[in-house]
Amino acid sequence: MNDKPSEVSKRIADELAACGVRLVASLPDNWLTGVIDAVDRDDRFVHIPVNREESAIGLCSGAYMGAMGCAALMGASGFMTVIYAITKINYTYEIPLFLLLTLRGGVGDHHKHHASNSLYLRPVLDAINMPYQIIGEPGDISAISRCYRHTRTFSRPMAVVFTRDLLRGGRA
């Protein structure tokens, strides 16, 4: 793990831009701040900080209907609040949605209050049959493009889930 977090954030931003993502809706997570800052500074994106995660789901879904590439950044806790919106909007109308999440509660997370995400994030993703790809190494960042295309090919949501090691660098 030699890549600095700033380099990782830049590579994630580059990968999103290469997908054709233009709109990025976000809510902060400590691990994601570098990515959010990189997106915010980058003229290739329209970055919209939103009031809550559900708003990001609505915003990205509408942008897709207008033919604008889009992605939503949020923490694992935020994702746990949007299940109904995803199942009602994106599953019902088959609107693709690309989410970038954090693997809170995973190995290396030293915040005890993420115990619930440790227990339930992946089971919840599985419960709604939502595909996800965990990215823990800089060399795997290119998977973002493949996952994004998957959402468009199958008209479904998909999440990329970043580990702490990737976003913060090194081993905790």
């Binding site: 709109l23 329209v46 919209i48 900080p49 939103v50 009031n51 809550r52 559900e54 708003s55 789901i57 609505g58 915003l59 990205c60 879904s61 509408g62 942008a63 897709y64 209907m65 207008g66 033919a67 604008m68 889009c70 109904y84 919106a85 009602k88 909007i89 019902t92």
Partner: protein, 156 residues
Amino acid sequence: MNYLDCFRALARRRTDQLVVTSAGNSSQAWWAATHDTEASFYLDASMGLSTMFASGLALARPELKIWAFMGDGAFCMNPGMLMVERQMNLPNLTHFLVSNRVYGATSNGAVLGRGAEARATALRRTGTEIPLRTLHRSSNRLRCLRISAVIRSLGS
């Protein structure tokens, strides 16, 4: 003028706008007033997301005019949406807040605090201009319709 007549009146003023409706009565009323399937999207759920959906669409397609309807019940679910809308400042988005003070699609259960106070406070705090225009203010016994805030006035 009753609830449906108000939507019919709005439909008559519509020119080339795309319409996004919300969960609840606004979807049913807009459908009843227009039977439009080509330029209206009946979002239905989640409550409180119709204008976010419409904002994404308006951002993506600045050459189009977008109308979004939302009831006061849905508004209470996500009042912070106004902060996002103000930040995005989309000139092609019109947000209609329909205030009948009940959850009309669910047996007219009363909206929290009757909606008005919380709504007015949220609008003031976000600095949104309210009300730019009151299009109609009248009531019948249960299905009164008051469009008490129009984020962007019609035709602007």
